[in-house]
Amino acid sequence: MNTAYKDWESFQEDMVLAGITPVDTESSSVPTHHLLELCYIPPYNATVVQKLLDQGALLMGKTNLDEFAMGSGSTDGVFGPVKNPWSYSKQYRERQRHDEHGDSHWLITGGSSGGSAAAVAAYTCFAALGSDTGGSTRNPAAHCGLVGFKPSYGLVSRHGLIPLVNSMDVPGIFTRCVDDTAVVLGVLAGHDPKDSTTVQDPIKLPMILGEMDVSRLCIGIPKEYLVPELSSEIRSLWSQAADLFESEGAKVIEVSLPHTCYSIVCYHVLCTSEVASNMARFDGLQYGHRSGIDVSTEAMYAATRQEGFSDVVRGRILSGNFFLLKENYENYFVKAQKVRRLIVRDFMNAFDSGVDVLLTPTTLSEAVPYLEFIKEDNRTRSAQDDIFTQAVNMAGLPAVSVPVALSNQGLPIGLQFIGRAFCDQQLLTVAKWFEKQVQFPTIQLQDLMDDGSLVLENGKLTSVSLT
C-alpha cells in the first residue's frame, strides 16, 4: 500500500483514538460520546484506527451515533440526533411542498452509525468507519446513498471497538463507491494478535477488484425477505436488480431461509444478553462518569449507571439480565443460541445449493422524517428496521449495501448483497459490477453550494477514487 497518499477518514465514537476527547460543537453531526465516557481519554488506538494512521490516513474526527450503537435511527445519542444530508439535497427538496422547506422536516440517517454515514454522504471525508452488529453500517448507508460494507466476522480486528455483542460486532466501512471500500478493507483486513477472534487465514492484499463475469454467477433471492411491510418502490427495484443479473447471463434462483421469521427474535435475545454482560464494566470506578453518591460501592455503581445510561441502554441491560437469570437461561439464552445455529444452517444450505451471492433489500423503506421516526420507541424501531440485516451478523457473513436509485421522493434506496464467509473480495466484485450498471446519482447539495460552502470540480461533486 502506497503510504504517500493521504485520505481523510472519520470514525465513530465507539472506536478509541489515543489522547483524543470528544469536542462539543453546535453542528448536527457533532462528534459525541456516551455520557458515561464523555471524560474518557483512551490510552490506546483501536487496531483499525492504527492501521489507517500507519498508512498515512488523516483522521478528521469522531462521529455521532446512537448511544452504545443501540438503535436504527442515530437519534438516541447524548448530543442529539443526526440529520441526513439528503434532507437538504436538491433531489429531495424539489419534490417537497414549499411549506416543508423549513428545517423541522429533516430526515433520519438510519443507524446506528449515522454520523459516519452523514459525514461521507456530505463529502466531508473520503471514508468513514462505523460498527455493524445488526445492520448499523448497512442501514444508514442505504438511507444516505452510500456503500456500506460489513466484513466477515473474524476478518477485521475488533480491538478498540467498544463491544456491544462480541459474537456479532464488526467494524463497518462507509464510502461513496465500492472501489474505495476495497481500498479501506485492504488496509484493515488481517489477523490481529490483540484480537483472538480474527482468523489467521492468509488474505491477498491489496484488495483489487477485477472484472466480473456475470454469466458465471448464481444469485439467490431469499423468498422470506419478501415481507408485506416492504415498500413497493424497494420491491420493484429488488425485482429489477434480479432481472438485470439474469439479462446478463447470471443464474437467478429463489432460495429459502426458512427460519428468517425467528431471526429478529433470536437476535433480540442474544443481543440484550451480551449487552447486559458487556455493559457491566461501566461502573464509574476506573473510567467514565462517576456518580457523586458516596455511601457504598453498589450504590455508587447503581447511581452512576442510572445517570450515565439512557433509557434505551438500561432497557436492554435489564432485558438481557432477565434472559440470563438461572431460571430463564435455558429457555431463552440457550434456546436463542440453538435458533442461531438453525439460521446459520439456512445460509449454508443456500450457498451449498450453488448460490454465490444473495440479493435482498437493505431497508423496508427510504429514510423517514425524524418526527415520524420517534413516534415508536427504540426497541420497536430496531426490531422493524433490522429485519433484513441482522441475520447476516448472526451468521458472520460479509454483506454490502449498494445505493441503487432514488425513490419518488428523491431519496436513496439501497440493496444488499450477502456473500459466503471470507469471500469478501468476491462479494465486492459483484457489488462493483452492479454499481456500474445502476449509476446512482450524486447528491446535489445545491443550497450549500450556492453560498460557496462546498468546493466543486467542473460544477459537479466528484468522488475521489484512489485506484
Binding site: P43, V295, R314, Q337
Partner: protein, 155 residues
Amino acid sequence: MWARALRVRFPVPLDRGRGFASKAGPQGKVQEVRQGTHSPRLASQGAGRVPAAKIEHLERLALVDFGSREAVARLEKAIAFADQLHALDTDGVEPLESLLEDRCVYLRSDNVAEGNCTEELLRNSHHVVEEYFVPLPGNVSLPDMVNKTPSPTAE
C-alpha cells in the same frame, strides 16, 4: 432491462402486497411470528406481568434502576417478543456459541509486550489516591440503600 415485467419475478402485482406472507412457509407459525415481529400490539397483548420481587432482583443484579412503570412495561414487551422463540422446535440442535467454533483460535504467548501506561490509565478515573482507584465501602448491599437514597427517576 429496467422495464422487464415484474410478474415474472414476483407473481403478485405491485398494488396488492398482502398475499406474500402466506406464500412464505409454514402458514400458521410464520404468520404468528411475523405479526409479533412487526406489530408491538401483539407483544403487549400476551405480555405477562413481571412480579415486583423479580423487578427488584433484576435491579440488584444489573445495578440499573428501572425508574418508571414504562420501563417495566418495556421489559414485559421484550419478554413477550422473545417468547416467540418457543414456537420453534430445536430438539437435537446444539447451541451455537461462537462462529469460530470449528477453528483453533489464536492465543498470544504469555509475554509482556506493552504496558507502562499507568499515568494514562489513572487519568481516566475520577477518584485516585497515589496509584489506587478509590472505591467505597463494599459491604453495604444495595437494598439497604434504597430507602436512604432516593432514585433520581422515581415515579
